[in-house]
């Protein structure tokens, strides 16, 4: 059953700040508004695992005090931004569980670098939101806390794994959410919920304090209503960090009002193999073709190119990420932190009983596959091959980005499915990641933008850029979003 979407009270930080600056709004009223939205809809949609109501209000009152005495310009660049955190980001002295029983009761001893930076910029964190366990899944059904529902149609999934983040923004329970994207976990739920999902380049934002799934793929990303808000969050979170050696020293260019106002003419490629793919819902294909035609009419250069590796991206992705996951998740052994099985009577039982009862089915599947592809006798045939395919993909994408600014494709080949619909065969859901895993395999920045509806359900279109080209990508995204809204 479909319900009408909540119309967000604010669609951008700029609108919030204008209201604060002109005295139409206080920080406390702002937080009260979102708390009211959460109280109204959280029970039915199962978005927030925990709401930091008192703390958010306390922080709001402190900001009101500073606003009164020093003015808005003296506050940080994210003052007015009320955000939620996906339950994979550490926030000092708050619980973080990766939506897993195995971390039940775990309290962070430090804040993720990204979280400290948004707090230092005066954002308000309103709570932590649901996701697939250890960010493994595309539907937010595989959570210890139960599934999250799509606000547009609660019988359908919101996508995943950052499904709680997407619905929190979609249902106006916060202005923005910080998620993580290992194979599309920010972009695909954004597409399913009709919001903007942005994943920066690998290495752009420190992963310190992000619970690991697959370390050479994981990247922190954002769910917002606008590209400008994604840029504001990126500007604050990006940059080198002594706690993450893979974090790039490349400086992020500054975003300026002039650049936001300009409309760049872009050279855009699309993959024939992607739009003609047998797995793509023909209605999404048709809408995407119309969308591309719209871009052409606006003066952008669009060209079809061939990408014959398309059917290898999902297999390569699942070999490599499950291998990394099986290694990363070996730390959850019931000894030093988290939940321990109460009946374990020996160290061996502590490991095995804790992990067996602590992890859900999807996590176990991936750990098992990962252990298999890394094991003696199979390593070269699976893990080694997948690393070579990844190299091939990186080379191919680099060559394409010499000729094109962006590559465009649908975000998802399918519409948001009904809860439980994909439970029979896990590979069915994996294959639905076909358009998003490419950016993670090659470390590219990518953004999913709302691109219309099919039978009342939102679809997304995704743009990818060369590594560390977030600025032109976001400026371009803004120019089309604004035109779409106009």
């Amino acid at each position: 059953m479909s319900t009408t979407a909540v119309r967000p009270r604010f669609r951008s930080l700029r609108q919030v700040r204008h209201a604060l600056d002109t005295g139409q709004l206080t920080f406390e009223q702002l937080v009260q508004y979102y708390l009211h939205r959460i109280a109204t809809d959280n029970k039915r949609l199962n978005v927030f695992i925990e709401v930091f109501a008192d703390e958010a209000l306390r922080r709001a009152r402190q900001l009101d005090d500073r606003l009164q005495h020093e003015g808005l310009s003296a506050l940080g660049p994210l003052a007015g931004m009320v955000v939620s955190l996906k339950d994979v980001l550490c926030f000092k002295d708050h619980q973080v569980t990766a939506a897993s029983r195995i971390l039940d009761g775990f309290h962070s001893l430090f804040s993720a670098t990204a979280v400290s930076r948004v707090l230092d910029a005066d954002a308000i964190i309103i709570g932590r939101v649901n996701c697939d366990e250890f960010a493994m899944g595309s539907s937010t059904e595989y959570s210890y806390y139960g599934p999250t529902h799509n606000a547009l149609d609660p019988e359908r999934v919101p996508g995943g794994s950052s499904g709680g983040s997407a619905v929190a923004v979609q249902a106006d329970m916060c202005l923005a959410s910080i998620g993580s994207d290992t194979g599309g976990s920010v972009r695909q739920p954004a597409a399913f919920c009709g919001v903007v999902g942005f994943k920066p380049s690998y290495g752009r934002i420190s992963r310190h304090g992000l619970l690991a799934y697959a370390s050479s793929f994981d990247q922190i990303g954002t769910l917002t209503h606008s590209a400008i808000d994604a840029a504001s969050l990126l500007s604050v979170m990006a940059g080198p960090d002594a706690y993450d050696a893979t974090c790039s020293p490349q400086p992020l260019p500054t975003f300026s009002d002039e650049a936001w106002a300009s409309v760049p003419q872009a050279r855009i490629a699309w993959f024939a193999e992607a739009l003609d793919h047998p797995g793509l819902d023909p209605r999404i294909a048709q809408l995407t073709r119309q969308y591309l035609e719209g871009l052409r009419q606006k003066g952008h250069q669009l060209e079809a190119v061939s990408f014959d590796l398309i059917d290898y991206v999902v297999p390569a992705y699942y070999v490599l990420t499950t291998a990394e996951a099986s290694s990363n998740l070996s730390r959850y052994d019931g000894v030093r932190f988290g939940w321990r099985h109460p009946q374990a009577r020996s160290p061996e039982e502590v490991y095995t009983m804790t992990r067996t009862a602590g992890f859900g089915a999807e996590v176990k599947r991936r750990i098992m596959l990962g252990a298999f592809v890394l094991s003696a006798g199979y390593y070269d045939a699976y893990y080694g091959r997948a690393q070579k395919v990844r190299h091939l993909i990186v080379q191919r994408m680099a060559a394409l980005f010499e000729r094109y600014d962006f590559i465009v494709m649908p975000t998802s080949p399918v519409l948001p499915w009904h809860l439980g619909q994909m439970n029979e065969d896990p590979t069915q859901m994996y294959l639905a990641d076909i358009y998003t895993v490419l950016a993670n395999l090659a470390g590219l920045p990518a953004i999913s933008l709302p691109a219309g509806q099919v039978e009342g359900l939102p679809i997304g279109v995704q743009f990818m850029a060369a590594p560390f080209r977030e600025k032109p990508l976001l400026e371009f995204a803004h120019s089309i979003l604004d035109r779409e809204n106009a």
């Binding site: 775990f106 309290h107 001893l109 690998y202 290495g203 050479s216 002594a242 706690y243 050696a245 893979t246 974090c247 290898y312 999902v314 297999p315 390569a316 699942y318 070999v319 070996s330 000894v335 030093r336 932190f337 988290g338 939940w339 321990r340 374990a344 020996s346 160290p347 502590v350 490991y351 095995t352 009983m353 992990r355 067996t356 089915a361 176990k364 599947r365 750990i367 098992m368 596959l369 252990a371 298999f372 094991s375 045939a381 699976y382 080694g384 091959r385 997948a386 690393q387 070579k388 395919v389 990844r390 190299h391 091939l392 990186v394 065969d425 590979t427 994996y430 090659a442 470390g443 590594p467």
Partner: protein, 101 residues
């Protein structure tokens, strides 16, 4: 590829997971489906391609060898399922046996 019981047992040992009854059968079937999906990689000729081990050009990025970012003992033990206040505690490793072997 056929996944037999012996292979499942080996993976159970490697991953410290124990699968019983219907869960074991379900996982065996799922793993077969997953492997048939990833077997697609064997179609490509990769003889001239090197494996990719670093996704960006940032590697061997060392910080100065200075003590920092340490947790206190109290903090390190705060999330432990069992502790004596100084160490993590686990059930006895060496059990006393009534019969010598």
């Amino acid at each position: 590829m056929h996944i037999d019981d012996k292979l499942i047992s080996r993976l159970e040992l490697l991953t410290r997971l124990r699968l019983r009854g219907s869960e074991r059968e379900r996982l065996r079937a799922d793993l077969e489906k997953m492997l048939s999906m990833v077997d697609k990689l064997s179609e490509l000729d990769l003889s001239e391609v090197m494996p990719l081990t670093h996704i960006t050009d940032v590697w061997n990025n060392w910080r100065a060898d200075e003590v920092c970012g340490q947790l206190s003992r109290e903090e390190a033990l705060r999330n432990a399922p069992d502790t004596d206040g100084i160490f993590f505690r686990v059930p006895k490793v060496i059990q006393s046996k009534s019969k010598s072997t």
